[in-house]
Symmetry: C2
Subunit: 148 residues, 2 copies
């Protein structure tokens, strides 16, 4: 099964900071999309929108402060449904290392290629948010192609 | 076997432009690393360096103008050796779509996570080069972590 894997290192940060940025409405709005709504509790759903009709609903599967976050896509787009998205922060010296994964894709479809590159755009925004206070979330993100 | 997959769309470009940017010293120097040396012919090796002692030697396996480019890593780092890197441009209306893949990783090691995110940084530089003339190749690229 093909996965999307990424890694960023964040200076002057902490696993707690990464956890907060990837589990609170305020944090997610600052580096992923300004249109983030819902409650970030295990079993609840967060709604991420990128324009009026486009986006994802994610169920919070695991929320271990400063350690481990897992979401699962429960609504559209179809290729994503059932896939799981995880963030694993780890402190190593001056750096907070974040390993990121989306797993459960059935096939390496073109939309998976797009998402892989797009996470490569957004994870540096998470890094930038925690290092500088500025995150470039949607609609201020780098656009990649005609799908955006 | 885990792969790294990416996709970017480039406006006002062509598969020929993508081919040239991913096979000539001038093109590669502008969006990947300013330290690119060698001859870009099938069977020959290109040397990409990121600082004095870090980089990759790539053998050119297939060069089909405007269609298909495949490199294979033949020297360091060890995790990369044998992996193949491909660029496939395709014209779709106003957009040149580039599907990118690195395949042949034995394990999803942490270095693979790093490379995946880093290609997510560099492929938008390829896009930017062809759309605006500016590419932000190494050493002007976004740095991700302590490995850089």
């Amino acid at each position: 099964m093909p996965d999307i894997l990424h890694k960023v290192g964040i200076k002057s940060s902490s696993p707690d900071d990464v956890y907060n940025a990837s589990t609170t409405i305020e944090g997610l709005s600052a580096w992923w999309t300004t249109s983030t709504q819902g409650r970030s509790k295990v079993g609840d759903v967060l709604k991420f929108r990128f324009g009026r009709d486009r986006g994802f609903d994610m169920k919070m599967l695991e929320l271990q402060p400063a350690k481990h976050v897992i979401w699962q896509v429960v609504e559209e787009p179809e290729d994503w449904i059932g896939t799981k998205i995880s963030f694993d922060p780890d402190q190593r010296g001056d750096w907070t290392i974040v390993l990121f994964k989306t797993e459960g894709w059935k096939e390496p479809v073109e939309f998976m290629h797009h998402c892989s590159t797009k996470w490569g755009v957004f994870l540096p925004c998470l890094k930038s948010l925690l290092e500088t206070g500025k995150g470039a979330s949607y609609p201020h993100d780098i656009k990649l192609d005609s799908w955006e």
